[in-house]
């Protein structure tokens, strides 16, 4: 059995000993995603704590047939981070969406991320055609909605949606289909 899935199964059974290994395994994967979306260390720490607490309490909802543990935790973390950043945006109403370049050049956390983002350029995402990379990065890394992306790129909404779908399909192929 997948080690992550086994830890989730143990947590679902109420095994507290499974929580720390699960956290240690997945928190370093999830934290950069959250940090990039919320762009504030304290917010990211809060979101991370919420996400892992929800995972402990909702471990029984994980269905191995529906997806990998990685997808399960990543989707939860992204969802929480996006909720957080959108709530902040609604409150301030002074949100200036970062352009893809600004995300790359001025990531939250400063210098520590610079090298990793440079590494990003050799990833499947970096190898996508520019129009697809652009929309996916704005959605994935900055947490913008399709409408916000359309406004920012001054593209029709339908175009943005199509590019996202196409980009994800290309990435899927790049990763070799199955995860």
């Amino acid at each position: 059995m997948d080690p992550g899935a086994d830890l989730i199964r143990r947590m679902a059974a109420g095994d507290r000993q499974a929580f720390a290994p699960f956290y240690d395994r997945f928190a370093p994967l999830v934290y950069p995603l959250v940090l990039r979306i919320v762009r504030d260390r304290q917010d990211a720490a809060d979101v991370l704590q919420d996400v892992f607490w929800e995972v402990w309490q909702g471990a029984h909802t994980y269905d191995p047939a529906r997806g990998s543990p990685e997808a399960w935790i990543v989707m939860r973390a992204r969802s929480r981070a996006i909720d957080r950043v959108r709530a902040v945006r609604r409150r301030s109403e002074t949100f200036v969406a970062p352009l893809d370049d600004s995300v790359a050049q001025a990531p939250a956390g400063g210098g520590a991320d610079a090298a990793s983002l440079a590494a990003d350029r050799e990833t499947a995402l970096a190898r996508l055609p520019e129009p697809q990379r652009e929309v996916i990065e704005l959605a994935y890394a900055a947490g913008l909605t399709q409408t916000e992306i359309a406004e920012r790129l001054k593209q029709p909404l339908g175009t943005v949606k199509s590019r996202i779908r196409l980009g994800l399909e290309r990435l899927r192929e790049a990763f070799g289909g199955a995860p």
Binding site: Q49, E70, A71, V74, Y140
Partner: protein
Amino acid sequence: MNRDHDAYETLASVYALGALDGDDLAEFEAHLARGCERCAATLSASEETIARLAAEGPRRTPPPEVRRALLQRLEATAPRRERAAGRSLWLPWMLGMAAAVIAAIWVTGGFIAARYEARLDRMTREAAEARERLRQEQDGLRAELQRYAGVIELLRDPATRVVTLRGAGAAPEAGARLVWNETRGGQLFVTNLPPAPEGKAYELWTITGGRPRAAGVFQTDASGKGTHAVEAAPGGKPVEVFAVTVEPAAGASSPTGPIVLASAK
């Protein structure tokens, strides 16, 4: 239909990235809720792709406070018996509590003892007083009972008569009955005779052949009642008149004060 569904699969991709909004979001969620397996599969594939995207990104250890906070939260919700690590804290805590309780009992005990010893002293004293009072009452009742028994005994004797004394002089309201037996003596019951003045007492006289003879002194209570046991007159001569006078408290050998009660001849 196919084209419509193709649109939904586009929405599934955008939804997986969390970028769907407005009417599209509501529409897709409704569609998904109706149990579209194709869209569920597309969503699932998109989610796996995003997870792979994350996996090829940087790893970064979160601030240690997050881990610490989560583990504390987990510990706080653990059932008590599972807190093996916490048990070491329980013992000193319980010992501390036990010591505090013992100290409190000791101090309180001393306080209560001091307080109750004084009370017990007082209660013992009060109990002794009550016992003495009861003893006196009992003695009084016993004497009274003997007196009544004696009166009843006297009344069984055909020779016994009941003499009525009436108030006179300063005590017109007073009255008395004397159960009298010439050879055995008798018992005087007085009513409505006010207590004698300070230093004075009432004295009963038996008068035979015009000669009064002292037959004892008595007092009456606040209600004007009094009883007095009377000895038989020596010589056995029948008493002709009974009279009560006010005399010095120690009594007199011959009447000196005014008559307050007297029997009719």
